[in-house]
Amino acid sequence: QTSEFQDYDFLQFLGLKKAPSPHRFQPVPRILRKIIRARETAAARGASQDLCYVKELGVRGNLLRLLPDQGFFLNTQKPSQDGSCLQKVLSFNLSAVKEKGKLTMAQLILHLGPRSYYYLQPELVVAVSVVQDSGVWGRSHPKPGRLLVQKSVRGPQGSLQFNLQGVVKDWNRHQLKNLDLYLEILVKEDRYSRVNAQLDNPCNQLMHSLHASLLVVTLNLKHCHPSSRKKR
């Protein structure tokens, strides 16, 4: 009886309705483990910490959340003339960010798969846009709207991070319930044709290994005094 009592109260305290079930767990990114380890070490030393500032990310915030991508592939093909290799709609459920407060960071984390896939990998160009009129894509091919990030990545390995400042502004203005992004990955044609023609289609490899998640940092001013007052 007392154990259920503790569970229920503790879960409420964490903002959970019931204990999460282990089969649905996400891989935990290194950055979050690094942050919690640094905090545990500082606490063990009795050092005072400003837990409303995430020094590893250089932003204020007291709650970090990693949201999994729930989107879908539009298509992958052998790099076409313009080098276009893969288009995907990335969809993140922002309604989980329910507590009052403001978003201080939205970082898109793309895992492109193990390095082995990318030996001699051509140079990639990653373009992330906001999906235009996302309300209508059920009927038509979603269109890339406002460009948020465009970056050329040579011989990518491990994960890539892209800070989406535009998303932060939109969220703080409209408290979006869902965020839909249009991801396009292009292969720089010149390097691809010369070096990798014998490799089987790198776009297919990319499709099987691509894993996207969104790291959002929120600052709850109820728990965190504005930094200016702290300085004063």
Binding site: P20, L63, L66, L67, P68
Partner: protein
């Protein structure tokens, strides 16, 4: 798990009692990634008049202990936390999100009257 206190200390006087909550014991280790548990310390013990002149007690406690001596209907000074520290928790929720959140004033570091 209760952490044993040094025998020298008068057990009945106000002091911090250390209690460690091990998430493994509660089956929470499957979804709480870190820490492995946390110190759920608490403050308990007597605050007699003699005590209030040291052991980081407040002036208010001194006055209340004095008033208790003059009129026992005035309750004694009480044993409360005087220094607290936060903890951060990394856990998974039901929507496949990984959450790192910090909780202010979660661990009792020091007690006083």
């Amino acid at each position: 798990a209760a952490v044993p206190i040094p025998t020298g200390l008068c057990r009945n006087l106000c002091h911090r009692h250390q209690l460690f909550v091990n998430f493994q014991d509660l089956g929470w280790h499957k979804w709480v990634i870190a820490p492995k548990g946390f110190m759920a310390n608490y403050c308990h013990g007597d605050c007699p008049f003699t005590m209030t002149t040291y052991l980081n007690s407040s002036n208010y406690a001194f006055m209340q202990a004095l008033m208790h001596m003059a009129d026992p209907k005035v309750p004694k000074a009480v044993c409360i936390p005087t220094k607290l520290s936060p903890i951060s928790m990394l856990y998974q929720d039901n929507d496949k999100n990984v959450i790192l959140r910090h909780y202010e004033d979660m661990v009792v570091d020091e007690c006083g009257c």
